[in-house]
Symmetry: C2
Subunit: 215 residues, 2 copies
Amino acid sequence: MHYYKEHARHYVSVDCVIFGLHEGKLNILLIKRRMMPGKDKWSLMGGFVEDDESLDDAAKRVLFQLTGLENVYMDQVGTFGEVDRDPGARVISVAYCALLNFDDQDHQRVTDNDAHWIPLEDMPELFFDHPQIVAKALEYLRQQVNHKPLVFQFLPELFTLSQLQSVYEAILGEKLDKRNFRKRIMEGELLEKTEFIDKSGSKRGATLYKLRIEN
Amino acid sequence: MHYYKEHARHYVSVDCVIFGLHEGKLNILLIKRRMMPGKDKWSLMGGFVEDDESLDDAAKRVLFQLTGLENVYMDQVGTFGEVDRDPGARVISVAYCALLNFDDQDHQRVTDNDAHWIPLEDMPELFFDHPQIVAKALEYLRQQVNHKPLVFQFLPELFTLSQLQSVYEAILGEKLDKRNFRKRIMEGELLEKTEFIDKSGSKRGATLYKLRIEN
DNA sequence: TCAAAAGTGTTCAGGGTACACCCATGG
DNA sequence: CCATGGGTGTACCCTGAACACTTTTGA
């Protein structure tokens, strides 16, 4: 069983593109790196994959460290392995995207990690190949949003149709027609009207909906 | 710069799901493993990522070793990192799919590697998590085939519309209507009629087409 | 009473699907 | 002359897009 030993071993990391919706805009959670290489530069939250954890577990751990959240929706979006992508050492990075409800996060943890929510449109310069990683994650999100029920990850359990529409609009970056949107979303039969009314967004009040079957 | 050293390093491999079209069916190139673990079992062709090569380069190298082909269309389809996925050692595997023209391969190399083309529908039991890798690659192929001009990778430079249609049918696993297919494919304006006629498939002969602009 | 968001239907166009026959040729 | 694959057009349906007014109520 000497076969494996002939070969190189590599640092493997996970990098998380964490999406959240804040003030009607799609935001990404970025950190200021506190260590070299890239100290004080903006980057994605990442971490190394250790011996006893799968890639998915590593991604969950990293997300938990930063936000205090578990059971968050995550998907692998690609793996980045250029030899020189990290100037400090050869690191192969598996990128994940995470979708979370902005209000659920543990703000203390986020602050402690020097992390900040940045609207997509104000994206600063990022370290390494992180711009490509973000681009890939965003492409993934936009492509999947019409095929999988991803949008609900951004919302609380109960939500109004207007809120739901604004999530779509934030992700796709375009305004949608209200009547067409409601017709389409209702045909899906994913939603269930509740008895509750949200009066926070309007004087008249809007019906709150929930997902019909959990997930 | 001691930061990296605290962390584990891992074997990283690439595994290639190599698709080709043979006798009207979608085939995958599989090998009988010649070494432990998994000796004499069917598996995908893979190889370890070395220090001086990117993931993409490693995938190209593996494909070249097996088929003698360069400049083959390849895409990354996912990364598999369960701790115990390889019983011999922890190996994180980046999966690629490759699409190639069956007739271009170097048969000698293929034979030397104990590789065999197997129709998708006759897939044998595969080692490790290779069944999931194949499933992911196939899902990717089917999803992308209507968005990217992947199908031409399976064909020679000149091809008939019937050949093109049979590629779609093999990938999607269903028969298509000839008139609708031709109408749709012609509206795309990707194809250019040539002066050449292929008499090998029929007595009447069929017009040969090529891609309008290279790739 | 008015501003601000909620809620609600119809029309039209374009794309996708279903469908059947003649053509050219080699054997 | 006939078997085989090559090549062609039309009718229908359904999905997706455009579009405007009424309702409710807190301030």
